[in-house]
Symmetry: C2
Subunit: 338 residues, 2 copies
């Protein structure tokens, strides 16, 4: 494997053999609804707790991904998963059901691409033939854990983002047919001193920019090498900041489509009152990528895309202790396969 | 890289170029005190919160490991870290200072070997020249987060374990002199239905056994191929259970030294009142391995060891919701190098 400073080149072209997305009612009301494998009409999904509902999302997404990949569970070697909950319990409980060797990862909302990058690296280096990657988030578990009790009905500023209820999973394999993963850039922690957890898009934008620039430096590529560059969940406040910063740093995106998963998953007009600045959460970039973008790649509408998942790595405790919000972004490039 | 079902063979023999351990006062009172790089005489380490103290441990351990490895920070490519705190904030804040591309991982106390295994895999597959792995835990942050407020003075049953205050870090490199990492076995989630968080050793023992057996199956090795097999933190309740289970499953350990980091780090007689069944926490297996065991390997006293770090993957919330304790163990084999 060739390597840039922080980029892995996957010369063996690991294949995304199959993927799956499961979402909640608000995502099912959004413009990408036709792309999802399963839409739950209720947030509680007939479970006794929000956490059990989140776990169900992960279990369903991983099950459907395995089925969509046309493999059996026994043909998979590892499960790499993570989520936003303390001690990533949703992933762990899913791993218990899957009975696969399990690597738990955490990068807040960037976990989607952290798990995909590591899965591709295992397959590319012949350390595994097939790996399952998956992440999930649930609006109510995140609200409860990071903000206020869900019964509280607290109001939010327009800079706040709405955690996506959903799970996305993918089977990455050394051979087969499907989109291929050609490189991944692992991000550094970037912290510009923002302390407002209701403005995470602004906090995360510099991390996205840092990773995008590093990706171009390491690979020698430039924006025009991509049909689409998509950030994870910067939403309506953070995404324009990222665009500005890239221009100021001399890496204007130019004519390449440059958007954000947090702006795509909901109807920014019709659902404005609920979602404020847009979507966030591990599942945001996962369901947009695995549901919507991979379909566009498979159809040939997009030949090469760069998914830059962003994460705000603070905890409620670190915030309460006056710490700023450390952020990160991991980028994965995906191309139309054979 | 050859592969068993869940084992990576590191044919390029990644080297542990340098390692470091930083601990608190109770660990400094224990029998391994001479092995640690730095011992803090006070639990608060003159920081304003337990969390800031834990972060300091991680920052010091990573700094000293880099120095001990004889490299500069700029020569490292990735930092793979994790800890027990919600959203692994200690590792994240350390990553912010290190300014290295960062992969956050979580496997509870097994994070020590999860991070080491992944680091070795990156180096072995030529995806990185040098990787820094590190984990930490602090008795008071763990008590506060997982059990009761530290001011509470709650009493504990004798099956309870005592979270190690410390951090361990290592630099893994493609060349240089030092002990080498020759394989790693990634564990599955094993859950035998135990719900008592004051008896984690018993909960984790079957996971350790599952990984040890898988390691032998995948590698064709048997216990006598090792001079020492050490579990992470099963302590006085869990370790004998693991030994019994291995015998019952037809894999008796025989004459190979078989012990547990949770039994080694404290004086089990003199410190009994504090530590109950023994040590636990991410730092337990990390400081025993990086501090004590690597020194024995370097001296030639041990030619080949297998470190099987165990983790109890529950969260306080999953426990309160009546869930059982899912457990995992990851094993790494280390040999005397050139």
């Amino acid at each position: 494997m060739l390597r840039g400073k922080q980029t892995w080149w996957f010369e063996n072209r690991p294949v995304i053999l199959g993927a799956a997305t499961v979402v909640g009612p608000d995502e099912g009301d959004g413009p990408l609804a036709p792309c999802f494998d399963l839409i739950h009409p209720e947030l509680d999904m007939q479970q006794k707790s929000w956490e059990k509902a989140e776990r169900l999302l992960m279990e369903q997404a991983t099950d459907i991904a395995i089925r969509n990949a046309g493999v059996s569970k026994e043909q998979l070697q590892f499960f790499i998963g993570g989520d936003l909950l303390n001690q990533i319990i949703s992933s762990t409980f899913a791993a218990r059901e899957l009975e696969l060797p399990y690597l738990g990862v955490f990068g807040a909302c960037s976990t989607s691409m952290e798990s995909l990058a590591l899965s591709a690296m295992l397959v590319n280096s012949r350390s595994a033939r097939r790996v399952l990657a998956g992440v999930c988030s649930h609006n109510c578990t995140a609200e409860k854990q990071f903000r206020y009790p869900t019964e509280y009905g607290s109001q939010k500023p327009p800079t706040a983002q709405y955690t996506v209820t959903g799970a996305g999973a993918a089977v990455i394999a050394e051979e087969g047919s499907g989109p291929v993963i050609t490189s991944a850039t692992i991000g550094r922690v970037v912290d510009m001193g923002i302390t407002d957890p209701f403005n995470m898009g602004a906090a995360m934008a510099p991390a996205a920019v840092d990773t995008i620039q590093s990706h171009f430096e390491d690979t020698g590529r430039s924006p025009e090498d991509y049909d689409l560059i998509v950030t994870g969940d910067l939403a309506s406040v953070g995404h324009p900041i990222a665009k500005d910063l890239l221009e100021r740093n001399g890496v204007p995106i130019g004519k390449t489509e440059f958007t954000d998963c947090g702006l795509m998953i909901y109807d920014m007009v019709k659902q404005k009152n609920i979602i404020q600045a847009g979507g966030s959460g591990c599942a945001c970039s996962a369901v947009v990528t695995y549901g919507h973008l991979l379909k566009r790649v498979r159809k040939g509408e997009l030949k090469r895309i760069l998914v830059v998942a962003t994460g705000a790595l603070m905890s409620p405790l670190s915030y309460q202790q006056g710490e700023t919000i450390p952020c990160i972004a991991h980028a994965v490039s995906i191309e139309g396969g054979g």
